[in-house]
């Protein structure tokens, strides 16, 4: 009886503490979301993406019998490219900009840990991306509806994977943002994105290069860099091929593990950082 009575307050205490931690992460996330939605650059990007989706109508019109395919192809590409631009350009400033502008000085002495702050920033930008991707998705479906094309749920699978890719890219950007300036973080995150997209080609490089060192380096890069091709089912969806649910589950697990590792590393670096 006593043992039960003694353990109950501890578990209740840790539950309360856990809820408090989640609330604090949520407050930072909502503030980050507010920051991004009040940024005019974001609106310009989303507007530009919608214009691009719209312009696919024109391109579709000159591609006889292929118009729907062109619209889907360009629409998904717009969601991916503009999402990537938002993820990198806002992601790299999430922490480094706060350090450069010294806004962190008044936040971190408040009852919030550095890890809670960082996670809040991450989820805040993921929320912004979710809203933006949703707006662009609606734009694409509206265009298809106007073209009298029946609702195609397969597109949502492709868009879901694009969103996963973007959340992974934000985690990459935030990692660099914890230890370098916004400019360098942007360069590094861009490099990781490009190299990660050609990750499988990196693995094959060893069979075509004579050097002893280069294949080792590319093998390391292959295993370290996230493989962004895992999230690309655009061609299959546009061609009308079936994308199995197992592929989506696998990609989700892959992204979740990668993101978790990146966030743990980011928190570790940020916890040790002197804010001079």
């Amino acid at each position: 009886m006593n043992a039960v009575a003694e353990t109950r307050p501890i578990s209740t205490g840790s539950r309360v503490e856990g809820a408090r931690t989640l609330r604090k992460i949520g407050y930072v996330a909502l503030n980050t979301y507010r920051e991004t939605v009040r940024d005019k650059v974001l609106y310009n990007l989303v507007l530009f993406a919608l214009l691009m989706i719209g312009s696919s109508y024109v391109l579709g019109a000159i591609s006889v019998y292929q118009e729907i395919k062109v619209i889907k192809d360009l629409g998904l590409a717009a969601i991916s490219v503009f999402g990537m631009v938002i993820a990198i350009f806002i992601g790299i400033g999430l922490v480094s900009k706060e350090m450069e502008k010294r806004t962190l000085y008044s936040v971190l002495p408040k009852p919030i840990s550095r890890s809670q702050f960082l996670l809040g920033k991450y989820f805040g930008l993921c929320l912004t991306l979710l809203v933006n991707v949703a707006v662009m998705t609606v734009g694409l479906y509206v265009l298809l509806f106007l073209m009298k094309h029946p609702f195609d749920p397969a597109l949502l699978k492709a868009i879901f994977l694009i969103y996963l890719k973007l959340t992974l890219l934000v985690a990459v950007a935030i990692l660099f943002s914890t230890f370098t300036s916004s400019t360098l973080a942007g360069l590094f995150a861009g490099f990781v994105y490009v190299a990660g997209y050609f990750s499988s080609d990196l693995k094959n490089l060893e069979s075509v290069v004579a050097s002893a060192f280069l294949p080792q380096l590319t093998r390391v890069l292959y295993y370290v860099l996230p493989n962004f091709k895992n999230f690309d089912v655009k061609a299959a969806v546009v061609a009308g091929d079936r994308v199995p649910w197992s592929q989506l589950s696998w990609a989700t697990a892959y992204a979740a593990i990668y993101i978790a590792l990146l966030l743990v590393a980011s928190c570790w670096i940020f916890r040790k950082r002197n804010l001079k």
Partner: protein, 311 residues
């Protein structure tokens, strides 16, 4: 319980990017601040004042030594719940309004919605920017940002506040209001730890001070202990001082300068002045003012800092 206690708190920074050298910006610092007192940390630029505050706030980490705030180690969440901090030249999220910023910080302290609304209203009123409560911070002037900085440092009704250059960016009226606010905090039992360049404010407001120079603690103690409170001179201004009268008091004064009809006479001490006064009045001179001069914190500060520079 001591509000702040540091033991051998030291900070080194790596300077240079190619071949970094270690630079000690804060030499082992031992400080004690009692609860309820108003403590001033003074020193010239680069003395280590802001570094000390950043160490106490957990923004940078000590190279050596340790510190405790309200009896607990640095970074303890319980401590963070009870302190307020105004950074030097604060900069806040410029996409928020003043009210939104206070609301956000109130959330981090776990205040309820009603508490946050009430506290924001109260504080914006208190620091005199309630008219700009719903204006985005990017439109705030430097003085308004400083006032908001004070408001955000008090959002949680702290037991202990750290203010880094609280008078910076404020006009004379703002400085007076800030002094009043610091006195109010002291009267309500809040411990105030502040850094300032404006020594007259420190002298008026602080119970105890510490002087830092080049990262080293030069002196710490009650103002009455570190400043020589004995009289340094008696400065007297008279009119109608004839040359004959001047020769009669010769030997009792240290310095005499004539400015038009007035003469400024400096006596080394009270007895000299008291001896010369009846002679002056009896000889037809008219007394304009008498000013006993004591050492100010500023005199003391410059003496200590100059002595440090010569070493």
């Amino acid at each position: 319980m001591r509000a702040v206690e540091t033991q051998g708190l030291t900070k080194d920074y790596a300077v240079g990017s190619l071949l970094p050298k270690t630079k000690r910006v804060l030499h082992p610092l031992d400080l004690e601040v009692e609860e309820g007192e108003t403590f001033g940390l003074i020193g010239p630029n680069g003395a280590g004042k802001t570094t000390t505050l950043k160490l106490l706030m957990g923004l940078v980490f000590p190279t050596e030594g340790e510190a405790r705030i309200l009896g607990r180690p640095l970074g303890d969440p319980e401590v963070k719940q009870q302190i307020g901090y105004l950074p030097e030249q604060p900069y806040f999220y410029d996409y928020l309004t003043g009210r939104e910023l206070l609301n956000y910080f109130g959330q981090l302290f776990g205040l309820s919605r009603e508490e946050r609304n009430q506290r924001s209203r109260e504080l914006l009123e208190k620091v005199g920017i309630s008219d700009a409560a719903d204006v985005p911070l990017r439109k705030y002037s430097k003085g308004m940002t400083q006032r908001l900085g004070i408001a955000q440092a008090l959002v949680n009704r702290p037991r202990l506040v750290f203010l880094d250059e609280p008078m910076s960016g404020l006009d004379p009226l703002g400085r007076r209001e800030m002094s009043h606010l610091i006195r109010e905090l002291r009267d309500s039992g809040v411990t105030v730890f502040f850094c300032s360049h404006i020594l007259s404010d420190v002298e008026q407001l602080c119970d105890r001070v510490a002087i830092l120079n080049r990262g080293k603690l030069v002196e710490a103690g009650r103002l009455s202990e570190i400043i020589d409170v004995s009289l340094r001179s008696v400065e007297v201004v008279v009119e109608s001082l004839s040359p004959e009268l001047e020769s009669r008091i010769a030997g009792s004064y240290r310095d005499l300068r004539r400015h038009g009809p007035r003469s400024h006479i400096s006596f080394p001490d009270n007895p000299s002045f008291e001896k010369a006064l009846p002679v002056l009045l009896g000889g037809g001179a008219r007394l304009v003012s008498v000013n006993p001069v004591k050492e100010t914190l500023e005199d003391h500060f410059f003496r200590e800092v100059n002595a440090g520079a010569r070493e």
